[in-house]
Symmetry: none
Subunit: 490 residues, 2 copies
């Protein structure tokens, strides 16, 4: 029987929450509680809009939201359906008597405002082969060295001091060694007092957004951009404006026009290499951006997550290295250097900002993993990380070339790729006729994991994937492209 949507979905126009989000949230709850089952065919956007007496565009926005989040799936020509492969959470039985204290929470004290802009990330069921989002090859990482250093941090020295509470700001040793390393590799001129150790770039982003964004502040970011950043801006209540990104990074002229019209609080930029398209911000745009920051007083949040992986001579030094006016928050991480599993990153900023952010950090997770931070310091000081970087850089460059060549040879007629100057992924545009969702499904059946080809806020008709080449050997890459080609050409 057709659920009575006009009863199930109640819209309150007095709420601040946009109507399309109200609808999306409500539909999500209906899927969660089983009212709408996997595979259920939803009413057309036109029909639902008529039922709810709203504009069809609003329904389209709501559906798009749920499509992007993976709750819904669309099948060309036949409509929109509740996704069949819902994340694990959805198939779990809802809380009930069997679950002990897992009473249905919304009925009780736990009423919370759903945050549709946030999504839980469930571990990917990676195939044996993968062209991932751009991860490092952890098989190359100096894990033995790291394990040894960690062990010695854990077992040697005064245990009371070593294993007690530490400083919220991070390990002093890592801050010192890292300051030298960043000065050397990135032309910064900082001391350890300008460094806050974080749990990766995401915590750097979170702390900056929590400290500097007030509800209603405007954040400018490129389109398309990194979901982790955008979720943070939205969670902080910011108004997010997206500006164009071309082959040379974000369009700084567009930013300037914006600045003349309204107050911008923060500009989020991945100077090297823009996510997902991998482009590098050109030198003159960097200067212009710094000038605008000075002139209009906004913060530049420079997420330089893969600075270390650049294949053309040397990378452009970060914006932070030329920042004289104190406008740049520089954010980095060891995620791409070692592995995403080791949550160690850093923020570089003025000293009083470091202290302020450390205070915030204290109430979030108290402190980092002192043993791991000191072990990282050991590896940096011994040059082990640097050696690993040189080795990976060489291998990744080779893998990039192999991968691009394979793509051009076997899929050149239906894909458009540009050889990236750096990073671990290739931005590949596919012929619009190729259904990327089906491609993913078929590939997974042959044990090849491909990342989803869904890009929120992308230009219309964009049919593209970000294909990570760094984590596979040339032989593996050959098999990956072979599988893709066979599926596409069959």
């Amino acid at each position: 029987m057709q659920p009575i949507f006009s009863t199930l979905i109640v819209i309150d126009k007095a709420l601040k929450q946009p109507v399309y989000l109200q609808i999306a949230n409500r539909l999500m709850v209906l899927v969660k509680d089983g009212s709408l089952q996997a595979g259920y065919r939803l009413p057309s956007t036109r029909a639902l809009a008529a039922l709810l007496h709203i504009h069809r565009k609003t329904v389209i926005l709501a559906y798009d939201e749920l499509l992007a989040q993976g709750w819904f799936e669309s099948r060309t020509g036949s409509g929109t359906f509740v996704a069949k492969r819902l994340p694990e959470i959805l198939h779990q039985q809802l809380p009930g008597s069997a679950e002990g204290n897992a009473a249905p929470s919304q009925k009780a004290g736990f009423a919370f405002t759903p945050t549709p802009h946030l999504q839980r990330r469930v571990m990917q069921s990676a195939g044996k082969l993968h062209l991932d989002d751009g991860f490092p090859d952890v098989r190359l990482a100096p894990l033995e060295d790291l394990a040894r250093a960690y062990r010695s941090q854990l077992l040697q020295g005064d245990p009371y001091i070593r294993l007690g509470y530490g400083d919220n700001i991070g390990s002093l040793r890592l801050r010192q060694v890292l300051a030298d390393y960043l000065n050397e590799t990135r032309c910064l001129k900082i001391t350890y007092r300008n460094i806050l150790i974080t749990r990766g770039s995401i915590m750097g982003t979170y702390l900056a957004c929590t400290a500097f964004l007030k509800h209603g502040d405007t954040v400018v970011t490129g389109t398309m951009g990194w979901g982790g950043g955008e979720m943070n801006f939205l969670q902080a209540g910011a108004n997010v404006i997206k500006i164009a990104v071309d082959d040379y990074g974000i369009d700084v002229d567009e930013l300037e026009q914006l600045c003349r019209k309204q107050t911008i609080r923060m500009v989020y930029v991945t100077s090297h290499h823009h996510y997902p398209t991998t482009v590098t911000l050109r030198a003159d745009r960097r200067l212009q951006l710094l000038n605008l920051a000075k002139q209009f007083g906004f913060i530049i949040f420079e997420d330089d997550y893969d600075y270390d992986f650049h294949y053309l001579s040397k990378p452009l030094v970060p914006l932070a290295s030329a920042d004289q006016a104190g406008m740049v928050l520089y954010c980095g991480s060891f995620t791409k250097v070692i592995s995403p599993a080791f949550r160690v990153g850093y923020l570089v900023c003025p000293e009083d900002v470091v202290t302020h952010l450390a205070q915030l950090r204290r109430i979030i997770d108290r402190q980092g993993d002192t043993m791991l931070e000191n072990a990282m310091a050991d590896l940096l000081q011994a040059g082990i990380i640097q050696r690993h970087l040189r080795k990976s850089l060489r291998l990744y460059r080779q893998r990039r070339d192999v991968f691009c060549q394979l793509m051009q040879q076997q899929l050149g007629n239906c894909t458009d790729i540009q050889i990236p100057d750096g990073g671990m992924a290739v931005w590949a545009k596919f012929d619009p006729a190729i259904d990327l969702e089906k491609l993913n499904e078929k590939a997974l059946r042959q044990d090849l994991y491909l990342p989803p080809g869904k890009w929120i806020g992308a230009e219309t008709g964009l049919n593209a994937m970000r294909l990570g080449f760094a984590s596979s050997t040339p032989e593996e890459l050959e098999r990956c492209v072979g599988i893709m080609a066979k599926i596409i050409h069959s």
Copy 2:
């Protein structure tokens, strides 16, 4: 005047860095610090090579590097020049040598609202002896087992899966093992789906406050209470009301009166053992509290950070175990079990709340330390943590008795202590005539660390310290009390 390049550029062939990069870096610094100005015509590669006694090709590589990076520009037929196009970057004065880019931030884009309710915590300069805030004796912890388990998590199995991105909700294995452990030890009735792994109690508190408190909501807590909780309530914009705590925990009658007057969103309670006074919430008050939660619809945040350390027969089971209405968020941690350095804790709550909090967690630090979480699961499953707990419980009980006896014998005339039923610290009230600040100072000079005797929100004239006994052996405790007695009685 021609700069004396042979003096300005020093090459160290012993360095790992290639010579051409040494030259390029040095030239970059010279441009940055103004020694080489925009438009300056550089010596020819041949001339510089001769000056530096190196191969010309090396100089060409260095120049190419700087050309590629935009520092130099070449004009056909007339040579290589310091670029004119990047004057802003190139001629800025370098940041002060000591502060790096620590420009006074409040003048620039980084204006932030100071948060006087938050304080950074710097590592204590612990003396050789210590009566701390109530920390475990990390010398007893199964560190060898943990190091081994961590190492095997780090090095064994498919590295791509093991060291890739994990689930924001925490390690599935730890959640499973922990659910069994909590059901067994705390009479809960939960599955892994009710567990979110956190980075200790503080992250549990942070997530709950962020998810459930709106600006202006009222949180009730005991006076005195735990700073980590209070900082979180204030950061979330809550109105904090403190109710009395007597020998049997928070005054639930006072809470009831409050509830009749105003809406309470959350009650924060350490049922076992209240911080800092160590009292246990009496059974009848527990029931009354649960009833009030049901009646008035508030959340009980039960911080049960040291449930495992109770010396009287068996501890009272947590409020969460008797919660039928889904009003309790149960929070625990391994901080007191192993060491504060391992940031692993958990929240127990309804399944949809777990999902909601995991979404929030994703934008904060992405995920926990999967290796460490799995290593903890190994230790729990092998019964190593349980064995460690039995051993520490026995030793801590003995230490508590020794410590209380020593205090009564040597300081009985000027202190008032109650033997605690559990936990790792004794609440000691001192004679008002004793200046605790001076006592601390004098003790530290004799290598004994005592915690500060300052209690915010304490009743007037309270002169008390929370003295941790668990991390010292009986012999060490004897020396600690001896030092205190000597100072006080001298």
